[in-house]
């Protein structure tokens, strides 16, 4: 539970902002809450309400949500085997709550050699989930009171938040080449293909590079703990 507090605080502006923007894009309050409760994936929720505001075909909106969330396939593959003593049902429940910081927390707990139990996992996940859902409602009701989000930099909180998370992984093997490859590829894809595909294309560039660079290793490398990263994300 204690591990979740900084995530709750860190995500609060985005939860509130989502609620406010959703209503502005034509959502009812209950629909904003429903989206936070059912998707529970901030960036894709923002993409979803943004596209809805532009009258894009519904299936394209769903596909875009899928594209933004495609990273979870790799999170799930990475963290699944590390879930100690989870029953299949517990895993099915746990995966629903697997947001970016939850994944980062769980990975880092495992790397520290601590047991990744269902109890710890849900203790970290549930406060964030409850707060996130409540914030959609609060944001929807009161968001319009913020007259000038731009002047307060609210629209730019998300990239800042993601950048800190990127920095938290800097002790990992080949971090710099991976980040540069993904960053450059995503910028190019953003220009050529457009959002949200730059997320998947950029990520694949960095991941493929990591796989290529690992080719010279004779033995599987043990993953170095991200001691700093733990402090940042917590």
């Amino acid at each position: 539970m204690r591990d979740s507090l900084p995530i709750v605080v860190g995500a609060a502006p985005f939860g509130l902002l989502f609620g406010a923007l959703a209503v502005e894009n034509g959502f009812e309050v209950y629909q904003a809450v429903l989206m936070s409760a059912m998707l529970y994936a901030g960036a894709s929720q923002m993409v979803g309400i943004d596209l809805f505001g532009t009258n894009v075909a519904p299936w394209i909106i769903v596909l875009s949500i899928f594209a933004v969330n495609f990273r979870h396939v790799l999170y799930s593959a990475s963290i699944g085997p590390k879930m100690a003593g989870f029953s299949p049902l517990q895993k099915a429940i746990a995966f629903f709550f697997m947001i970016d910081p939850q994944f980062a927390e769980a990975e880092q707990r495992h790397e520290r050699g601590q047991r990744l139990s269902f109890r710890w996992y849900m203790g970290a996940a549930l406060p964030v989930y409850v707060a996130w859902t409540a914030e959609a409602a609060i944001g929807a009701y009161f968001g319009k009171l913020i007259k000038d989000p731009y002047a307060y930099g609210i629209d730019f909180m998300l990239p800042m938040y993601f950048l800190v998370l990127v920095m938290s992984f800097r002790r990992r093997k080949n971090w710099m080449p991976v980040v540069l490859a993904s960053g450059v590829a995503s910028v190019i894809a953003h220009h050529l293909v457009g959002s949200p595909w730059h997320v998947s294309i950029g990520a694949i560039a960095g991941i493929v590079l990591a796989a290529i660079m690992a080719g010279g290793d004779k033995k599987p490398e043990t993953i170095e703990p991200d001691a700093e990263g733990v402090q940042h994300v917590r």
């Binding site: 799930s76 796989a211 940042h232």
Partner: protein
């Protein structure tokens, strides 16, 4: 039900599919080869970098400078402190007309 509600339900199913899919597919392999392991290890930094890089170059000077400040601050401070520093930076730089 309205279009929005259907989009939310379909989007939720698509999202949950990504969250269980990786484990269901990859758990069929007994040994994860070093290359796959290295690739998985690179996932979080690679994905998160794609959410930052376009924001760094496609906005104004205020945004680019703020991200540089955030990167440097994150070497030293925790997440919330860095976000406060970043918020102070973006507010003052935009107020100064660099946005």
């Amino acid at each position: 039900m309205s279009d929005i509600t259907w989009i939310i339900i379909a989007g939720a199913l698509a999202t949950y599919a990504t969250r269980v899919g990786g484990h269901l597919v990859l758990s069929r392999f007994r040994h994860i080869p070093p290359r796959v392991s290295a690739a998985l290890d690179a996932v979080p930094a690679a994905v998160l970098a794609t959410l930052v890089a376009p924001a760094a170059v496609s906005n104004g000077l205020a945004e680019a400078i703020t991200l540089i400040i955030v990167a440097i601050a994150s070497l030293r401070f925790n997440l919330i402190m860095v976000l406060l520093i970043g918020a102070a930076a973006i507010i003052s730089l935009r107020a100064a007309g660099l946005g």
